[in-house]
Amino acid sequence: MRGEFATTTAVVTASPGVPTTLRVLATWIAAFAAIFGVFALAYGFHGAVTTTASLSFVGRELRPNSRDAGVEGAAIDVRGAKSGRATLLQVPLLPFQAADLGRLRVDAGLVPEGTEVAVLWVRRLEPGKIHDQRIEVNRGRAVPVMLDRNPEWRGEIAMVALGVKGPSPEPWRIERVTLEAVRPATIARAAIGDWTSFGKWNGRSINVSFGGPESQQLYLPPLAFGASLLALALLYVRQRRRGGALPAWALVLPFVVGWIVVDLRWSAELTAKAAQTWQAFAGRTLDERHLAMEDSDLYRTVSLARSQLPGTPQRIFVGSDFDVFRMRAAYYLYPHNVLPFGWYDAKAMRPGDFVFLYQKADMRFDATNHALIWPDGSKSTVTAVLAQTGAGLFRVE
């Protein structure tokens, strides 16, 4: 114990003062900027400064392929097509070399919920083949796309278009589409854009945190660690020149700074996600919050089914073509005694059991004969407790 207190005192007496802390911080920032600059030059400088000018088009210049898009002043509004097909907006440009213009930016309003956007292109030498790349949406805004990372973005590009698809009746207003040359500044902007692209919580979030989009040219953690190492080396060299060794805290501090920098990005991401959660759910009852989730239709259907069931727990077989619906429906049906997997036909059922079906394409309900018709053609006599398009609750007789 003597050693511990001695240790404490020793380190505390020699720990960082403000000027030295600032010096470490400044060194770290310089190291970070140096590595970042080298990276941007390496990826954005192709032997010569490109002189190709950007190509920019206002929304009304885009050529839509359906009436779901309409000109509004200088912009163009796109609505989700009732047919479910994508609306294409062709960019009116002449063929150009892919290497000259590698980044596409869409200046537009908030992308409506559920709308998917992609950029599509055709190479001049393969006129029948359409290539595409999804445009990520971050906090409702379309994120600039680095096309030069896509292996299919090469040769001479003959056609570029935006594809817009989604169920929303809300229009998405596109103000301008710009194709830019890839320069060091573009690369740097893209990297910063990646780090500040936060997205929503999704099914993979519980397993992995990418620190921005899954695919990035430059991830922040290795860069921050590299900057910490370089800062340490710079501090070491400086101290050697002045004579003497670096104190222990000076060896540690660059890594603490690196950690905090990476964590500032993560804090911003957590904050953005909390803001989304707040916006979606705050001030709402539990039912309303479930109805604001992606499986709202399932929740509504199960709630209706539950209201038709006796109060005491019933044995319910749950079926759907989709794992997520089967399992989620079962979760909503508890504390009824449910089985959402491991059964495939009527053999296990007895009179008094219930069957809940949701989006189960290979089963039919014969209302005339009060029968469920199974995929193998066999029939079970049932009473329909709830029967609607795509869903039903039946009592086995």
Binding site: E4, A6, V11, S15, W201, S205, W259, W278, Y331, Y334
Partner: protein, 489 residues
Amino acid sequence: MEALRIAAAIVVPWLAGYAWLRALRGDSRSNAFIDWGYGHFLGLLITTVMMRAAGLAGLPFSFGVLLPSLLAATAAGGALAWRTARKRAVPARAPGEAVATAGERILAAVAVALLAWRVGALAVDVGLRPLFPWDAWTQWATKARVWSELHRFVPFIPFEDWLARAPGYTDVAPHYPFTVPLLQAWIAIAQGHFDDAMINLPWLAGYVALGLAIFGQARRAGVAVAWSIVAAYVVLSLPLLDTHVALAGYADFHVAAAFALALMALIAWEQDRERFQLLLAVATALMLPLLKVPGFVWGSIVALGVLVAAFGSASWRRILLLGVAMGALAVAGAAVLWRERLTELKVAAPVDFLGSLADNLFVFDNWHLLWYLLPLALYVGRREAVTRMRGATVALACGAAFLAVVFTGTQVSAWVTDYTTVNRALLHVAPAAAVFGFLLVWRWAGARQLADDAMRAALQAPAVAQQALEIGDGPREAVAQTDAGRPAE
């Protein structure tokens, strides 16, 4: 009223755990942060054990039954704590610590601000978002929902038995330990209905408690206040840990917290053989198998660490033998308890997963800079790791070996490449590894500073200067001096 009941559901178990720790700590060098931090997790253990007892006794799962039982446990612990406190002599105050420098204060302020902001952000997701991640509503909260809505403990059985009309419910993991769903059920029972956002409040409370425990253990280990805050910040800022609180409902957060708590107590016990720390290590290690199936392995690993620490200066050959024996015991125990589950593990040639593993450790932001810095910490603190912290070192090495065997020798290697399980498995060990690495660096820094001071003093004293230069090994001398403070083993 509902808010009061929810508050009681969080506070009363916490108080019960705290009271019992105060009662058991005697005249230990523990501090309030350790008591409150560990107290939360002990309170969870007390609550869920009581619920199991109520279930076995056929008592209803109602607030009217469970809350008085918990209050009684709290009162008993409190009375015992009060009695022992009266008998105890006033502990001597620790030697005064030098005031933190402005640089340290800024660092600590930044860490506290980031943590406070984070707790707020996490609270929004925990309190508002209905249960979101897959396993949370397919295998954990399923049980919580049934028990809390039926107000009784009913068994969960394999679906084959369910089809054969055996009494009971089923879900995709009927064999999984009940602690986590019991926790969720407890909140729902207190609230009066099943709110699948609020049931996750224990994750947020556990997050705060973990921070308190890390701070308390760091202080106890002699780390300065500002750097103890940084230690807590380092662990609580790990993105995967934060995500498991924000999207609560999995057991992995509690496994990670319990393993970290056990390892910190083991390090403290190894340092000065204080029985209270051994008690903390054993209690938190016992929690592990009650949380999740792999918890049995993690608990065995802590037990191995305790044995290694107990043998003190034993030879590495003896430690190796101990390791093999404990490993065999863990495998045999797991085979007996969960043989059905273990048959799901198939021996398989590993797929090409090293690239994916490296991405998850070093490139993506799952762990900030943890896996870059841990090898550096091990390097600078290697002497400390194999002397004063050998129990913890062996425990972490066994943990790494366990993960390596599972990921290289079974079909689980495929779960590295699709990013599904690798980080959740690492989460079990990451907070403990972070604290371990932090303490290694702290002690190395202390020893280095002592060495520098000794060298400077030697050079400044003309009579001794010549002699010191002849020895030429000032740092080693100083390190030896630091170790001299270690109690006899």
